[in-house]
Subunit: 216 residues, 2 copies
């Protein structure tokens, strides 16, 4: 099967390496040879265990998204039972909690994952977009439902757009988290922790979602 106890199995070594390399250089720019040689496994191992490069890419996302969505799903049902009192800030915090809880111990992998998400959104218009919609569309829909309850003054279609604005700010920022922190270090001589970035981001998102409606 896998996992001989001490050292990790071939499948996990491939996933770990692919995750990092994809995030660094993109999907098309990362060759299977680069992955397998850095992971210390044979080139043919990818096609043997995953079937194809496309399947490997999906497996990388699945390994993060499955537990994330399960966690988010649980937290959402919790919120739904204590209905009425869900605030916007609480909802946004639920999201980031789900992401952080899944990656407990390796918070830097959250940045890697968002970087991958940004890539996925830009590139590979076809198979990845379908994959996301089919596997995780339901949880997303439930989240939107709660959002509408929390901020009733924003009409549905306006909220649709604002959610995507917020999604963009999140993915874009967390994609480039490390370079941005480096700029912050050199320009302001201040070390900013990822958690502080998260706080700032959530404040920005809340402000944007609750912004005054445009005259139309």
């Amino acid at each position: 099967m896998a996992g001989r106890g001490a050292e990790r199995g071939t499948v996990d070594r491939i996933l770990d390496t692919a995750e990092v390399l994809f995030a660094q250089k993109g999907f098309a720019e990362t060759s299977l040879r680069a992955i397998t040689s850095k992971a210390g496994v044979n080139l043919a191992a990818v096609n043997y265990h995953f079937g194809s490069k496309e399947a490997l890419i999906q497996a990388v996302f699945e390994r993060f998204l499955d537990p994330f969505c399960a966690r988010l799903d649980g937290l959402l049902t919790e919120l739904e039972t204590n209905s009425g009192s869900v605030t916007l800030e609480r909802l946004l915090a639920t999201l980031s909690q789900s992401a952080l809880a899944v990656q407990k111990g390796e918070p830097h992998r959250v940045a890697i994952f968002f970087r991958l998400s940004g890539l996925a959104y830009s590139q590979a218009q076809g198979h990845l977009r379908r994959f996301f919609r089919e596997h995780y569309g339901e949880v997303f829909r439930r989240f939107l439902e709660q959002l509408a309850l929390a901020v009733p003054e924003v009409p549905p279609m306006e909220m649709f757009w604002r959610v995507h604005f917020a999604l963009g700010a999140t993915i874009f920022t967390l994609s480039g988290m490390d370079p941005l922190r480096a700029i912050c270090r050199s320009d302001f001589a201040v070390e900013v922790l990822p958690q502080q970035v998260e706080e700032r981001l959530l404040a920005f998102l809340a402000g944007g979602i609750r912004a005054q409606l445009p005259a139309s």
Copy 2:
């Protein structure tokens, strides 16, 4: 030289085609053969006129960014002379005006360009990022200066992050403008014009930038 009057020259045909194909599929996923065959020019024309594929990519950006930054530069000096009364909304509107004015007659190319920007930010960590910083860093810095004057209640470092949040929301949304409008059409049975998206986006950004500061 170029331009025999009636039909466009080889260089422009390559740029026009590359722009569209890059936006559709990404840089690495678009081969020179795909570009040249669709443009109706010889394969070797790219290396002859531009030198390499990397140089072609930069040329595509240059063709849009040079006039855009020139326009923005002019509008900024206008604002600087009538100092004191620059509002945040006015500054944001200046940005989108610059983008639209440059592409007068072909507003859909603005979406293409933002899609390219999103790709550039995700992929190609090296040469494109340097290219942007070296060529257009100065105008960006001046814009930040005006922004600090318009919203003095937000401290510099906080503003630094919020600008990037806003940048992310913009690039991400305009990258996927057409698919998002399609979803809007099917889910809400409403046709949304790009200009309306811009209005909504600007409202969101203004709200986010002026958001209450997080407790820190």
